[in-house]
């Protein structure tokens, strides 16, 4: 403070300097509130969470809190539920992303053609995306409930189910419940991003190809797909990471049951923290999940880079 006062007294050309400082700090002033919040509520807890993984933190045990090194990870390597959750995560993420992508791409292609009432159709098919996820989960849980929902009876009539039972309580089929709900909810996201990418493809390319005698399938393979490829790569990457962390639907629909058949790693972390209040162990699992996702993302980015370099 004193220094500023002195310069104020002795240097008459202080204003340009102060103005320069003010000018240089302007962008930081604009972004400061947002940054402070992000650091305080996301970055600090992230670092804390990483440290918890090496500490014994149980909310109901006042004597916990000490550092225990790699104990959690040793316990984790013996934890059969964790391995099952890891396998279920692969199944849940792979199934959801693949189905969302395929149906989203088809929808985007359908909506790319101009037709009467396109605006309305677009608003209606995108509506599921606005439905709160907990409600989407409950809604589908009710649809699968034979007492109140039509789906078991319809599946029975079609011969897919041998009896009109709730598939959410059948260990063999339970995972399909959250996956179907997730596909229903997530198709719009893929459709929206792919539609935007489709609309950016220059139309005259198609005309030129048609004049050269390329059929629709050929045009799709040699124009549409190459143009969409970067968008597809980035969307699939982001969605894969996002969906493998997405526990809401599972917590709402099955809570990991029956017999842990729908427990994914994200819902397992939540169960450890929420039900057992074992924050240390929960953080250790979360750290493993984080590392796995980072490795996955880096592999995809590397793959994309090599493909781009070759092209």
């Amino acid at each position: 403070m004193d220094a500023t006062v002195i310069t104020y007294d002795t240097r008459p050309d202080r204003r340009p300097l102060l103005q320069r400082i003010a000018h240089a700090s302007e962008p930081y002033l604009y972004s400061a509130p947002a940054l402070i919040l992000i650091v305080a509520v996301m970055l600090v807890p992230l670092v804390l969470g990483i440290s918890y993984a090496f500490r014994d933190i149980q909310i109901l045990n006042p004597f916990s809190g000490g550092f225990i090194g790699l104990d959690h990870f040793r316990e984790l390597s013996q934890d059969q539920s964790f391995y099952r959750a890891l396998k279920n995560t692969l199944w849940w993420t792979g199934g959801s992303v693949l189905l969302q992508f395929v149906f989203g791409l088809i929808l985007a292609l359908l909506l790319d053609k101009p037709f009467y009432g396109r605006g309305l159709a677009q608003a209606l098919v995108f509506l599921p995306w606005a439905v709160p996820t907990f409600l989407a989960g409950l809604n589908w849980a009710w649809l699968f409930n034979p007492v109140i929902g039509p789906l078991p009876h319809w599946l029975y009539a079609l011969g897919i189910l041998s009896e009109p039972n709730n598939i959410l309580s059948d260990p063999q089929l339970a995972m399909w419940g959250p996956i179907v709900a997730n596909v229903w909810w997530g198709i719009p996201f893929f459709a929206i991003t792919l539609l935007a990418a489709l609309q950016a493809i220059p139309r005259d390319l198609y005309e030129a190809a048609a004049i050269d005698g390329a059929g629709p399938a050929q045009r799709f393979m040699s124009i549409t797909l190459p143009f969409l490829a970067p968008t597809i790569a980035i969307t699939v990457l982001l969605r894969t990471v996002w969906i493998s962390n997405f526990a809401d639907l599972i917590v709402v629909m099955t809570n990991g049951g029956p017999a842990d058949r729908t427990q994914i790693v994200a819902s397992y972390i939540f169960t450890q923290a929420f039900k057992r209040l074992d924050f240390g162990y929960a953080s250790a699992i979360a750290l493993v999940l984080l590392v796995l996702l980072l490795v996955y993302s880096m592999l995809i980015v590397l793959l994309r880079q090599t493909l781009l370099n070759r092209g």
């Binding site: 302007e26 962008p27 604009y30 972004s31 509130p33 947002a34 919040l37 992000i38 305080a40 509520v41 996301m42 600090v44 807890p45 992230l46 969470g49 918890y52 929808l107 359908l110 037709f115 159709a121 098919v125 995108f126 509506l127 599921p128 995306w129 606005a130 439905v131 709160p132 996820t133 907990f134 409600l135 409950l138 809604n139 009710w142 649809l143 109140i148 929902g149 039509p150 319809w154 229903w184 991003t193 935007a196 980035i234 962390n245 526990a247 917590v251 709402v252 994200a266 972390i269 939540f270 923290a273 929420f274 924050f279 929960a282 953080s283 979360a286 750290l287 999940l289 984080l290 996702l293």
Partner: protein, 277 residues
């Protein structure tokens, strides 16, 4: 050739129709059960529309349950989050859009990183941080957490809207003697109103839907948001389907209203967000 074209058009419309039915059917069923009288619930289980309809479930939920409190709590939390995020994100988005400065790269990197790691990871530490501050079991705590979570996406979204406005506008104003902040507030912000509406809508919907942190941070009925209230209601009294679905329909209303508001900007906004975030 003509018949082939006709067939293709027919198949196209049929496919679109299938998608619409698939998208709307679950919501339709929610509405159907919510207006079915209790005595017809099981006898007309798979009928598409009950022979008699009633609003008694809605009446009961609105007058005899804690749902109005949950609804109010959710409205406060989502509304406050949306307003605070939009104000702060328009400032930070403006900084990213209009200034070139040293820390910019790091700010963008920080915001991208927060989009990549699993938020479940933060459940335990955030609970431990907020509880000595008295911010667990409080709506303020939820608003703070949701505000931070939605900030990166909202910042990128606002930045892309600012990028669409020519720089000459505020340069002209600054030549006339306005400071940059005055130009931002009086010239640029009014032009970004559609972007502001879209950001408000996105953040409101996101905060309205959030479940895991609300479950973790809120334990009493007084501060429960709609997702928490509905879920406890379901796990405790999983018998009265009519009432639960009436509550579900009510929870759908604000989300759908905001969806209608932002629907126009969906393709534009999500693309901007997806490319950058």
């Amino acid at each position: 050739m003509r018949t082939k074209k006709l067939l293709l058009t027919g198949a196209h419309r049929l496919a679109i129709l299938t998608y619409i039915v698939f998208a709307l059917f679950p919501l339709f069923w929610l509405l159907k059960v919510s207006v079915t009288p209790n005595d017809l619930l099981y006898t007309e289980g798979v009928r598409l529309w009950p022979s008699r309809t009633t609003f008694e479930h809605f009446e009961f939920v609105l007058t005899h349950s804690a749902f109005p409190v949950f609804f109010r709590n959710s409205l406060i939390v989502s509304g406050a989050t949306a307003v605070v995020v939009t104000i702060l994100a328009s400032l930070s988005g403006y900084a990213l859009s209009r200034f070139t400065f040293k820390g910019k790269y790091w700010i963008v990197a920080l915001m991208l990183v927060t989009q990549m790691f699993p938020l479940v990871m933060l459940v335990a530490p955030i609970f431990k941080m907020l509880s000595p501050l008295g911010l667990t079991n409080s709506l303020t705590g939820l608003v703070i957490v949701y505000t931070a979570f939605n900030m990166p996406f909202a910042t990128f979204l606002m930045q892309s809207f600012f990028d669409g406005i020519p720089k000459d506008l505020e340069e002209a104003a600054m030549i006339d003697g306005a400071t940059q902040f005055m130009a931002f507030r009086q010239i640029i912000l009014p032009l970004t109103l559609p972007g502001i509406a879209a950001t408000l809508g996105f953040v409101f919907t996101a905060a309205w839907s959030e479940l895991l942190f609300a479950l973790m941070l809120i334990s009493g009925n007084d501060a429960a948001t709609f997702p928490v209230g509905l879920l406890t209601f379901v796990s405790k009294f999983a018998v009265d389907f009519g009432q639960m679905m009436a509550a579900g329909v009510l929870a759908l209303i604000p989300a759908c209203l905001f969806f209608l508001l932002i629907q126009r900007y969906l393709v534009q906004g999500l693309t901007a967000g997806a490319v950058k975030g």
